[in-house]
C-alpha cells in the first residue's frame, strides 16, 4: 500500500515537473507608471499601459509585429486573418476573423464580440459602454462611421471618408470578453479584477497600485507568441532611484527607463542595458502664425544647423539617437531628404544674415517648455543646451516654463490661444508610430485647433494634398512612398526643430534572456525566459 502511494506521488511529481519543463522562471518588472494601467482592455497611462496591459492580455484585430529589433515594426494579422477595403466603395472595410480563438474565460471570439467591443467605446447607450475605456479608445478610431456583423466570422466597418490609415487605427482597439463581463455582473470594476482577453498572458492576481501577476495562456492562438516564462509580475515604481535600488537588490529583474546617471553603476553591477531606436522624437514644435520668426525657412534651417546633436547625446550619457529627420534614421518612412541635419554654425550664421539678423541684431523669441513629462527625457538640461547652441547662431531664446499637464492643454489650444503666452514654439515629444500620429496630426490644415493638434497652425496645400493621398493610397508599398515624400518635405523645409530620438533604455538582470527589443512603443514578453 505504502509503495503504491509512493509510486503515485513520484508519478505526480514527474508529471508536475514535465508540465513546468517549458516554463522558465518568474520575471518581475518595475514600471515607471505610478499605478497599474487599466486592465479592462483599452489601457491608460500612454505607451507603457498598452505595452504591459494591452498587448499582453489582449489582441486587436490587427496587431503590431514585435518580433524584430532590426527594423521598424509594421502591422500583422491579429484577431483578423485578413482585411480589405471595398474597391467600389473605399469607405467599407471587411475583416475576416480568426477561427477557433477563445477568450481566457473559454468563450468564443466572433463578430458579435467585435461589435460588442466597438459599442463599449462608441455607443453611450450600450450597457457595456465604459467611459474610461471610451476616453482612451474613442479618439483612436476617429474614422469609424458604422459597423456590422456580416456573419459570425466577418465584420464590416465603414469609415466616414476613405482612409487608408484605418488599419493603424484599428490596431489600438483591444478585444475584451463579453462573456466575462456578463459573468462578473456586467460591471467593469469587477471585470478589472478578473479580466479576460485573448492575449498570450492571463491575469491571475491584481492588487491595485501595487502589482499584477500574469501566467501564460495555454490556449493562445499564435504558437510563436506562447510565453516561455512561468509568471510575469508587474510592479509600479514611479521613482527612478527606487527602481534602480529594487533592481540592484534583486527585488525586480527588469526596470523601465533607468535614470541616465545610474547606467554606469548598473553596468558595473553586471546589469544589461538594452536600448533600441523606436518611433519617438524630441522636438520644438514651431508656430507658423502671422508674425512668427519661424515662417522664414532660413531661420528654421539655421536653427536646425546650430544644434549640436552629438553634444546632446553626450549629455544624455549616450542614450539618444541624434536626429537626422523627424523620424529616426533607418525608418521605412524616412525617404531621402536633401537637407542634411548637421552641426554647422557657420552655415547657420550665413542663413541668419540672409534673413536679416546678426550678432548685434539677434532674433529674440520665446519657447514653452515643461520641467518633466512623459517621453520628455531630461527637458531642462536639454533645452538649456539647445538654447546655448541657438545663441551661437544669434537666436536668443527665453523659456516659459509650465508644468507638463499645462503644456498638454496649451498644445491642444494652439499657438494663437492666449494660453500660449506669445510663445513661438514648444518643446514636445511625439509618439510617431503610425501615419496619423507620426505625420498627419501635426500639420494638416483641417487639424488646426480646436479641431486637432496642429498647434502651430501650419497650412500648406501641397502638404494637405500629400496627406489626402496617404489616406487614399490603399496599396502598402505605394503608401510608404507617399509617407516618405511627406517626411522629406518635413526635413527639407525644416518644419520642426528636430533634435533627438530616445532609445527606450531598460536595465535588466543578467538572468533575463531572450528579449528582443522591437522598434516600437509596445514589446513582446513571450520570448523572454529566466536563466537558471
Amino acid at each position: 500500500m505504502d509503495f503504491r502511494k509512493l509510486a503515485i506521488a513520484a508519478a505526480a511529481g514527474m508529471l508536475f515537473a514535465a508540465g513546468h519543463a517549458g516554463a522558465q522562471g518568474t520575471l518581475r518588472i518595475g514600471m515607471t507608471a505610478s499605478d497599474i494601467p487599466l486592465t479592462t482592455g483599452q489601457t491608460d497611462q500612454g505607451g507603457e499601459g498598452m505595452r504591459f496591459l494591452g498587448y499582453t492580455v489582449y489582441d486587436a484585430l490587427i496587431n503590431w509585429d514585435l518580433s524584430s529589433a532590426d527594423k521598424a515594426s509594421d502591422l500583422v494579422p491579429g484577431l483578423a486573418t485578413e482585411w480589405k477595403v471595398d474597391a467600389a466603395d473605399r469607405t467599407k472595410w471587411t475583416f475576416k476573423l480568426r477561427p477557433g480563438v477563445k477568450f481566457h474565460d473559454g468563450s468564443a471570439f466572433d463578430s458579435a464580440a467585435v461589435i460588442w467591443n466597438l459599442e463599449k467605446l462608441l455607443n453611450q447607450q450600450a450597457p457595456q459602454f465604459d467611459p474610461r475605456q471610451s476616453a482612451q479608445g474613442r479618439s483612436r478610431i476617429p474614422a469609424v462611421a458604422s459597423y456590422r456583423a456580416v456573419d459570425p466570422m466577418t465584420v464590416e466597418i465603414a469609415t466616414k471618408t476613405p482612409d487608408a490609415t484605418f488599419p493603424y487605427q484599428i490596431a489600438w482597439i483591444m478585444m475584451s470578453s463579453p462573456a466575462q463581463w456578463e459573468k462578473v455582473g456586467r460591471n467593469w470594476d469587477s471585470f478589472a479584477k478578473t479580466p479576460s482577453g485573448t492575449g498570450p498572458w492571463k491575469i491571475v492576481n491584481f492588487v491595485p497600485r501595487e502589482r499584477v501577476e500574469m501566467v501564460p495562456y495555454p490556449g493562445y492562438w499564435d504558437a510563436r507568441r506562447v510565453p516561455k516564462l512561468e509568471r510575469l509580475v508587474l510592479v509600479p515604481l514611479p521613482e527612478a532611484s527606487a527602481r534602480t535600488a529594487a533592481l540592484r537588490s534583486g527585488q525586480v529583474d527588469w526596470i523601465e527607463a533607468p535614470a541616465p546617471d545610474a547606467i554606469a553603476s548598473l553596468k558595473q553591477a553586471g546589469m544589461q542595458i538594452v536600448t533600441n531606436a523606436y518611433p519617438h522624437n524630441w522636438t520644438w514644435h514651431l508656430s507658423r502664425v502671422e508674425g512668427s520668426p519661424w515662417n522664414d525657412i532660413r531661420v528654421r534651417k539655421a536653427a536646425n544647423l546650430a544644434v549640436d546633436r552629438d553634444g546632446i547625446k553626450e549629455l544624455l550619457g549616450g542614450l539618444a539617437i541624434p536626429a537626422k529627420g523627424f523620424f529616426p534614421p533607418g525608418h521605412q518612412w524616412f525617404g531621402n531628404p536633401a537637407f542634411k541635419l548637421r552641426h554647422d554654425v557657420a552655415e547657420a550664421r550665413k542663413l541668419m544674415t540672409e534673413a536679416g539678423y546678426g550678432p548685434n541684431k539677434p532674433l529674440e523669441t520665446k519657447i514653452l517648455i515643461a520641467p518633466s513629462g512623459s517621453g520628455q527625457m531630461q527637458p531642462l538640461p536639454m533645452n538649456e543646451f539647445v538654447q546655448q547652441n541657438l545663441a551661437e547662431a544669434w537666436i536668443k531664446i527665453t523659456f516659459e516654463v509650465v508644468d507638463w499637464n499645462t503644456l498638454i492643454n496649451i498644445w491642444r489650444a494652439g499657438a494663437k490661444h492666449e494660453s500660449s503666452r506669445g510663445a513661438t514654439g514648444m518643446n514636445y515629444t511625439y509618439f510617431i508610430q503610425d501615419p496619423f500620429t507620426g505625420l498627419i496630426r501635426h500639420l494638416q490644415t483641417s487639424l488646426q485647433p480646436p479641431a486637432g493638434t496642429n498647434w502651430g497652425y501650419y497650412s500648406d496645400k501641397d502638404m494637405d494634398a500629400l496627406f489626402d493621398k496617404v489616406r487614399n493610397t490603399f496599396d502598402a508599398a505605394e503608401q510608404t512612398k507617399v509617407l516618405q515624400k511627406i517626411h522629406e518635405k518635413y526635413v527639407d523645409e525644416a518644419l520642426f526643430l528636430m533634435v533627438t530620438h530616445d532609445v527606450n533604455p531598460r536595465a535588466m538582470s543578467p538572468k533575463v534572456k531572450g528579449f528582443v527589443q522591437a522598434q516600437n512603443w509596445f514589446q513582446d514578453f513571450s520570448p523572454v525566459y529566466m536563466a537558471k
Partner: protein, 317 residues
C-alpha cells in the same frame, strides 16, 4: 469632563466644514485638467466635452461642491477618475498601510526621541546632551527622501539585508505579521521616524531643562526626595506638553509622506496622494485630503482631551 468633550466635538464641526471647503477649492484652483489622466493628449475637443459631461465637470462649482459634500457626509467620497474604484475604499486601504508605517515610526521615534530628550535635559551640558542634540538636529535637518535613498542603498543594495521597495512579497493585500512581511516595513519606518525623533527629543530636552530649573524641584530635593522620585515628577510635569507634541507628530505621520512612500513604493496615503496629484485625479485628491484632515482634527481633539485628563488646569484655562 463629558461636557468639555462635547464642546470640543461641537468646535470640530465648523473646522471640518472649513477644511472640506478649502480642500475642494484648492484642488479646483490648482492648474491642470482633471480629465488629464483619462484622456490621451490628442483627444478631440468633442471627446473632452463628452467626458466632462460624463464626469460632471461641466456643472457649476458650487453645485459640484454641494454634491460632493453631501455624498462625503453619507460616507461616499465618489469614484477615482483614473481607476474607477471608490475613493473611500482606496483611502481606507492606503490608510491601513500608512497606519502600520506610522505606528512603527511613532513607536520608535517617540521612544528613542523621548529618551534622548530626557537624558539630554537631565544631563544638560554634558556629553550625553551634546550627542543627543546632534542626533536630534540631524533627524530634523536631513531631507528624509535623501535619507530614504541612502538607507535603501546601504541596507538593500550593498548589504542586501532588507527589501528596498513594496509592501511584502505579494503586495499589501497579502500582508501578514511575519518576518517575510515586516522586513518591508523597517526601512520606510526608520526613515519616517527621523523627524519626529528629532522634534520629540528637542522638545523633551527643553521641557526637562525648564522643569529642572523650577523651584518645586529644589523643594523636593530639599525635602530629601530621591532622584528617582524627582525624575517621576519631571516626567509627570513634562507629559502634557510632550503629549501635545507627539499628537501633532502622529498626525503628520498618519498623513503619510509622499516622498518616503514614493521612494520605498509603500502603498500608503502619501503614495496615493502623490499619484492623485500627478494624475489630477480630483475625486481621489479631495477624498484623501478630507480624510487626512479629519484624522488630524480628531487626533487633536483626542490630544486635547488627554491633556485635560492629565492636567485639569487646562480645562479651566
Amino acid at each position: 469632563m463629558l461636557q468639555y468633550f462635547l464642546k470640543r466635538v461641537l468646535y470640530a464641526i465648523p473646522i471640518a466644514l472649513g477644511v472640506s471647503l478649502v480642500c475642494f477649492a484648492l484642488v479646483h484652483v490648482a492648474p491642470g485638467d482633471p480629465l488629464a489622466s483619462v484622456l490621451p493628449p490628442d483627444a478631440s475637443l468633442e471627446m473632452q466635452q463628452l467626458m466632462r459631461t460624463i464626469y460632471g465637470f461641466d456643472r457649476p462649482l458650487p453645485v459640484q461642491f454641494a454634491l460632493w459634500l453631501w455624498r462625503a457626509f453619507v460616507g461616499d467620497l465618489g469614484v477615482s477618475i483614473a481607476t474607477g474604484r471608490p475613493v473611500a475604499g482606496e483611502v481606507w486601504h492606503a490608510f491601513g498601510n500608512t497606519f502600520m508605517l506610522a505606528a512603527l515610526a511613532a513607536a520608535f521615534g517617540f521612544l528613542v526621541g523621548g529618551l534622548l530628550g530626557l537624558l539630554a535635559g537631565y544631563y544638560r551640558g554634558g556629553w550625553i546632551d551634546r550627542t543627543a542634540s546632534t542626533l536630534s538636529i540631524a533627524g530634523i535637518s536631513v531631507p528624509h527622501y535623501w535619507l530614504g535613498m541612502v538607507m535603501a542603498i546601504v541596507f538593500s543594495v550593498q548589504l542586501n539585508w532588507l527589501p528596498a521597495t513594496g509592501a511584502g512579497p505579494g503586495g499589501s493585500a497579502a500582508w501578514s505579521w511575519d518576518w517575510e512581511h515586516v522586513r518591508f516595513l523597517i526601512l520606510p519606518a526608520l526613515t519616517m521616524s527621523a523627524i519626529p525623533l528629532g522634534i520629540v527629543a528637542r522638545s523633551m530636552r527643553a521641557l526637562v531643562g525648564d522643569i529642572l530649573s523650577q523651584e518645586f524641584v529644589e523643594a523636593l530635593r530639599a525635602k530629601g526626595l530621591s532622584e528617582r522620585g524627582i525624575f517621576a515628577h519631571i516626567l509627570k510635569n513634562a507629559a502634557p506638553t510632550a503629549l501635545a507634541v507627539m499628537g501633532l507628530q502622529l498626525g503628520y505621520l498618519l498623513g503619510g509622506s509622499i516622498l518616503i512612500e514614493t521612494v520605498f513604493a509603500w502603498p500608503g496615503t502619501g503614495f496615493l496622494l502623490g499619484n492623485a496629484i500627478l494624475q489630477r485625479d480630483l475625486p481621489l485628491l479631495q477624498g484623501t485630503i478630507l480624510v487626512l484632515a479629519m484624522f488630524f482634527v480628531i487626533l487633536n481633539l483626542l490630544v486635547d482631551v488627554a491633556q485635560t485628563w492629565l492636567d485639569p488646569r487646562i480645562k479651566r484655562a
